[in-house]
């Protein structure tokens, strides 16, 4: 049996303090290959419970314009999954890796080209606790789940407002870490308000999943989570925009404290 999930533990620790866990998302290599590591450390130092690192892909169908543009900038700067793994392993070895557990978010094809066995082994040795793959529904998870779970890396399922309880139960059967509830019928990017059905779907998800439920897509301010019983909040586009406009990760995290 696998060791307990670091991701679940980190989120439950926030719950124990009576607050949702904070999961910022930053594309690897953004805003540039050097400063990314500074911002990553700042996220870690300023309240991130889990940190989600984006693996850039040329055709990110689940992302809105902000994340897509940032990802393409990173690709132009030469960011690859191999670079991400190498840098993370170096930091893990030097003891300078973030304390918060890390999650990689990326599309199926770059992971497939890297090789699923290599991905699982390198993720484990680079200190990556989980992987989110937005274009990998239940039907296609098999080979990924097998490789990652053997290495103790969680494959985080995504569900939406149109996911039936029956499908949630399929995902729930071998869920580890947390489940990612996409809060809008759309792509990543900030929204002023979250749709009404989020609350009900959160309740269903929390009743069916043995792991914490994180809410993501469309979130930019803590006020949006009022009255929503999410175990964790994921935010990316708002952070990217904050950095693009001259801010930094520490300043952004301050609004969530």
């Amino acid at each position: 049996m696998n060791a307990p999930s670091k991701l679940e533990a980190a989120i439950r620790a926030a719950t124990a303090h009576g607050r949702p866990a904070l999961i910022p998302f930053l594309p690897a290599g953004y805003p540039n290959k050097d400063r990314f590591w500074t911002e990553l450390a700042a996220l870690d130092a300023h309240g991130a419970d889990v940190i989600e690192i984006g693996v850039p892909f040329s055709d990110p169908v689940a992302d809105g314009p902000v994340v897509e543009a940032a990802s393409l900038e990173c690709l132009d700067a030469g960011v690859t999954l191999a670079w991400i793994m190498t840098e993370l392993k170096a930091r893990a070895a030097a003891g300078t890796a973030p304390k918060a557990p890390l999650v990689l978010m990326g599309y199926a094809n770059p992971f497939l080209q890297y090789g699923l066995q290599a991905l699982a082994a390198d993720a484990a040795s680079a200190g990556v606790a989980g992987i989110i793959i937005p274009d990998l529904p239940y039907e296609e998870r098999g080979p990924f789940l097998e490789a990652l779970s053997a290495a103790g890396v969680d494959l985080i399922p995504l569900i939406g407002l149109n996911t039936s309880p029956e499908r949630m139960q399929l995902y729930a059967r071998n869920a580890r870490g947390f489940v990612y509830l996409v809060s809008v019928m759309g792509v990543t990017g900030e929204r002023d308000t979250l749709p009404e059905p989020v609350k009900a779907q959160l309740a269903v998800a929390r009743s069916l999943f043995p792991v914490p439920v994180a809410l993501g897509f469309g979130i930019s301010r803590p006020e949006q989570l009022k009255n929503l019983p999410a175990d964790a909040a994921i935010f990316g586009s708002a952070l990217i925009r904050h950095i693009k406009q001259g801010g930094d990760a520490a300043g952004f995290m301050a609004r969530w404290q």
Binding site: S58, E68, L81, N109, E140, R167, M185
Partner: protein, 400 residues
Amino acid sequence: MTTSAPLRAGWFGEFGGQFVPELLMPPLKELEEAYATIAATPAFQAELAELLTDYVGRPTSIYLCRTLSKELGFNLWLKREDLAHTGAHKINNTMGQALLTKHMGKPVLMAETGAGQHGVATATAAAMLGLKCLVFMGATDVVRQAHNVRRMELLGATVHPVQSGTQTLKDAINAALRYWIAEQATTHYCIGSVVGPHPFPIIVRDFQRCIGDEMRTQFRAKIGRLPDYVVACCGGGSNAMGTFYPFIEDEGVQLVGVEAAGTGEPGCYHSATLTQGSDGVLHGTRTKLLQTEDGQIMPSHSMAPGLDYPGVGPEHAWLHATGRARYECVNDMQAMAAFNTLCRAEGIIPALESAHAVAWVLENSATLPKGCHVVVTLSGRGDKDLGIIQELQETQRKQA
């Protein structure tokens, strides 16, 4: 014997699948069920058949090239999809999907388009069946293919220029998938080729198989047997799949898909996915792709806009892997030569895409047996390409 019956729904050997966000699984399931329950009924089939006959102009004719057959020493036949309404085979698919959309009760038909041919065919079907039509088109293509944008607008469609990524077909497909996530309740995504997640490759192939089905009937009537070679150009692969599918179990019939090699020079951003690509996942399906070793999708290039796609239908990847069909490359110059030959010898101005298929026959005429029967699917007419051809001829004149 090879058959296309997949072991797992939506898979052709190792190719196919549904690599899409979970949010798209319900509409894909809905489509799969609607296709099985609605499209299979005799009433739907009869309605579609009537539209194909009276509106599209099917069956399209099959023509034995009088001049070229004499010169080549074998029989070169053309399946005249260029004579279908809107001037290409694309209408076979959009008519089927639009009718299905109508029966599903969805008011909006949404599509991606590269050069605009599929967009025009979608706008046409939508106009005729009273559906609202939206078309996503790369911003670069909107400028390059202004004529087709105008046609879509005349037909009542709204064209959305896509500013992201490379601003071409693959980005238009990304935009269409994103739009579909948000508007799935009211909108059907009318995909333009045998690509994308299951069940699209099967649905589009089924709506295009009229090409191959008619070919079989026409050959039996004309020569009392099936042809020896069946040739079609292959970008995403819808005309080729519709042509090949009814022949898959006829082992005596050689199937040849022709891909675009671009300029043919090393390092050219070509579109020869099957002959030069590698396995990967794009737009919801596992297939052959043009990609970097890190799995980033490379921009493709062909002077034939309809062949310009960095992926290919998963069933083609499977036919390629099993060897049932062979896939060959033709470069821009060879396609241009074939284009000119067909214009002058037969009085037919072919689409540049179709010219690739004709070019393979002309380039390989010495190795094709005397007296054999070769049929090429002439997927479209070339009026749309006059701007590209004029540019090319001017470049060649300057170089000469």
